[in-house]
Amino acid sequence: MAPLAPKTGDPLFANVERVNAELFTLTYGAIVRQLLADLEEVEEVNKQLDLMGYNIGVRLIDEFLAKSNVSRCVDFKETADIIAKVGFKMFLGVTATVTNWNAEGTTCSLVLEDNPLVDFVELPDTCQGLHYCNILSGVLRGALEMVSMKTEITWVRDMLHGDDAYELQAKLVKQVPEEYPYKDDD
């Protein structure tokens, strides 16, 4: 009775509860605005957004696994594909494309043409160093850590800084499978 793991996120996106996109965008904007007012320094805000994203990611991964029914990914390539096609679709309603694989298959780029977080947003001159969507990098990092992958996620291109798309670089630092301490020091 369990449905087969979907290769695209569309059926999933249709089934999960959705919220008004503008409400989501405006709420996120209010959060960033408040962080800027509280912390004042753009680097601090970047770090805080990443931390918030991390805390979201560690919980989000279970929801993703429960609702999407995906099985264990064979390698990082499959992981990146699932994130781009199923993950982003399920939570943000957009799909990303995966490009720029390095030779070992440990680094890739996730490119988002469309990003619901940044609708209506313009960065003022005082905040040019701000990674407005840094929460996304935190979410990916947190989620992957809970499935034993230590990653580094950074922004390569950002439309708010004048580029033509949003590009996240995902680098797999190492796989850390659960080790059971059989050789305890007594």
């Binding site: 369990a2 919980r59 279970d62 929801e63 696994l65 429960a66 609702k67 499935v147 659960e178 059971y180």
Partner: protein, 141 residues
């Protein structure tokens, strides 16, 4: 009458975060349930090492004379297992439903700390509904 005797949820380090018994057959006191949970966690881990095939993800079903134990482990290491009457059907489906309830009502609760015991009212309410729905067809037999 209940087909399910008890339900346990353990976190990735083996600590018991949720325990519920249904009926006197499954009842045990707090210390015993904690002990049983860590025992099961270790056995589950050892079974992965013992398995003659590679890629084994641990015990899914334990069948004994007087009970069955169905276990589900998520890819994040959280284990949900249920002790029930022998040959009870649809337990795997129930475990998946409970996992979804866990993600919706426990993880999304901002006051819930990860890996800590679950004290979420919405989770309890929805869990009872899910188990009741399961019981009705079984009682009809």
């Amino acid at each position: 009458m209940a087909a399910i005797y008890s339900l346990f949820i353990i976190n990735k380090s083996g600590g018991l975060i949720f325990y519920k018994d249904y009926g006197s057959a499954g009842r045990m006191d707090t210390n015993d349930s904690l002990r049983l949970a860590s025992l099961w966690h270790s056995m589950h881990a050892i079974s992965q090492q013992l398995s003659p095939t590679t890629g084994c993800s641990g015990i899914e079903l334990l069948q004994a004379d007087t009970f069955d134990l169905h276990c589900f482990q998520s890819l994040t290491g959280t284990k949900i297992f249920v002790v029930c009457e022998p040959s009870t059907l649809h337990m795997e489906g129930l475990l998946k439903v409970i996992y979804e309830l866990y993600t919706d009502y426990v993880l999304k609760n901002p006051f819930y700390e990860m890996e800590m015991p679950i004290r979420c009212e919405l989770f309890d309410v929805n869990l009872s509904q899910a188990i009741q729905k399961d019981r009705v067809p079984l009682l009809g037999r």
